[in-house]
């Protein structure tokens, strides 16, 4: 065995690792929060009575879901900039992530909505609930609760995809790691360290999503069973 592990060479850079991890988490939280709203709105629009609205949202969702994330990032960062619309790299990265996660969320939430039985809506109508109440309490919240695990894994995938933004000079965890390995030539150790950090962030996010689920879905809190 010839390889000598030397993690000590990375010690002076612990603050850079930490800063990179923080940037990754920040990008993820902002992108997921906005992306979720856009996704839900798009899911509602896809069930709209207006064909043109269904068509437009369909184009957006299909385009995003059928092109690679890196192409979307390059399009936003370089393409829009060539047309005179320059934005800082953090903003451009988050913007691309919002567009990406919004489309996937829309399809996941729509799947949940399709699963709501029509008789439930009829029952709500018979009880005299308003259209808004029906959408919020009978369709939206139960369907989000039903697809919550799928949403969680989509958001965690998004967190891992932030690594791609290092290509456009974002200094998130992978970008930082690429710098550090080029100073220290300890590439194996560097990537082991960030793999562990990514794993920790994943568990952190999972825990966060679990806590949110407990807070917003009373059934889970009270009965301890998912829908």
């Amino acid at each position: 065995m010839n390889y000598q592990f030397d993690f000590e060479a990375l010690l002076p850079y612990w603050q850079s690792f930490l800063q990179g991890a923080i940037t990754t988490i920040q990008m993820t939280i902002v992108a997921v929060a906005i992306g979720l709203v856009i996704g839900v709105l798009c899911a509602i629009a896809r069930r709209s009575a207006y064909p043109w609205l269904r068509f437009l949202v369909g184009i957006y969702i299909e385009t995003v879901r059928n092109t690679p994330f890196i192409v979307q990032i390059f399009f936003i960062f370089f393409g829009l900039s060539s047309m005179g619309l320059t934005m800082p790299v953090f903003f451009a990265s988050v913007f691309a992530m919002v567009i990406n996660v919004g489309a996937y969320t829309a399809e996941i939430v729509r799947a949940g909505m399709e699963a709501v039985h029509p008789s439930q809506i009829e029952a709500a109508e018979a009880l005299g609930l308003s259209r808004f109440q029906i959408y919020r309490d009978i369709i939206l919240m139960p369907s989000i609760e039903r697809v919550y695990p799928a949403l969680t894994s989509q958001f965690i995938l998004m967190m891992l995809s932030t690594s791609i933004t290092s290509q456009i000079s974002a200094e998130e965890l992978t970008g930082v790691a690429n710098n550090i390995q080029s100073y220290t030539f300890r590439s194996f150790e560097t990537y082991i360290v960030i793999a562990v950090i990514y794993l920790m962030i994943t568990y952190l996010l999972r825990f966060g999503f679990y806590a949110i689920a407990l807070a917003i879905f009373p059934r889970r809190r009270k009965l301890g069973t998912p829908l």
Binding site: M1, Y3, S81, T86, V89, I168, S169, N178, S187
Partner: protein, 262 residues
């Protein structure tokens, strides 16, 4: 968790076996297998790029072809990114690397080099209206570089006040400058011509030369027979003019006469 750890340990062990296998005499291996694996980071103008017919060319690529020819084996060109240059050699993923890699003391701790075979001129470029004469003038300004290059290290060291924006390869850096994401760049002199052809408004001009770096062919540490063969090859082909002609064909300038003894 237990299973994850087990998998991780197994994977690590497997990697180590691979690393051990790669430690045999590379020169002998090359001759036995009939092919040499040479890594090149593509996308460096004049050094390594794809031409109009999507064929890899440039002074580094042609140098790699000459090496394979004189070894009497087939060339397997391994295309990598800039940041992967040193690790690729370090881990034996390639036998050699001919990729505009400057010879530095830090890198020498991780890999071995041949004697210099070419040079690279590091420059800072910016639009006419921007006042930059030296490193100190870069303070507070956004400057684009390619990650893990000698430019990156030089600017990081000498212009601590600058805001450095790191891109993955020269091609992405050039795209960033063309699309207006960055206006000031530190790169090699060869990129300017092609860059300004695409960036028609507000072109970049040479502000100052950081330094002239000697480039070496990189190989894994401790491969004495291969290193001797390479040194001998570079010296011979420099003396008979082959290497100088290849360089001049792409860069339009001559290499210094004392290069191989530097």
């Amino acid at each position: 968790m237990k299973t994850i750890m087990k998998v991780a340990v197994a994977a690590t062990a497997a990697l180590m076996i691979v690393a051990t296998a790669a430690q045999a005499d590379i020169l002998e291996n090359i001759k036995k297998s009939g092919k040499v694996r040479i890594a090149v980071a593509m996308g460096s103008p004049e050094y390594s790029y794809v031409d109009g017919d999507l064929k890899a060319t440039g002074s580094d690529v042609e140098t790699a072809r000459l090496i394979a020819k004189d070894l009497g084996v087939k060339l397997e060109l391994i295309e990598i990114t800039n940041a992967a240059r040193v690790p690729t050699v370090q881990t034996g993923k390639a036998d050699l690397l001919v990729s505009a890699l400057g010879i530095t003391d830090e890198r020498k701790k991780a890999i071995d080099y041949s004697v210099p075979y070419a040079t690279l001129s590091l420059i800072v470029a910016a639009p006419k209206t921007v006042e930059i004469k030296n490193y100190a003038d870069l303070a507070g300004k956004r400057i684009g570089v390619t990650r893990a290059t000698t430019n990156d290290m030089d600017i990081t060291q000498n212009a601590p006040g600058a805001q450095i924006v790191r891109f993955e390869d020269d091609a992405t850096l050039i795209t960033a400058a063309v699309s207006g994401q960055v206006d000031i760049i530190s790169s090699q002199s060869a990129v300017l011509g092609g860059l300004n052809k695409k960036r028609t408004s507000n072109p970049l001009e040479l502000k100052f030369t950081q330094k002239e770096t000697n480039l070496g062919i990189a190989l894994p540490k401790g491969e004495k027979p291969l290193q001797d063969w390479l040194n001998n090859w570079v010296k011979t082909n420099f003396a008979n003019g082959t290497l100088r002609a290849v360089f001049k064909e792409f860069h339009n300038r001559d290499l210094p006469d004392d290069l191989t003894s530097r």
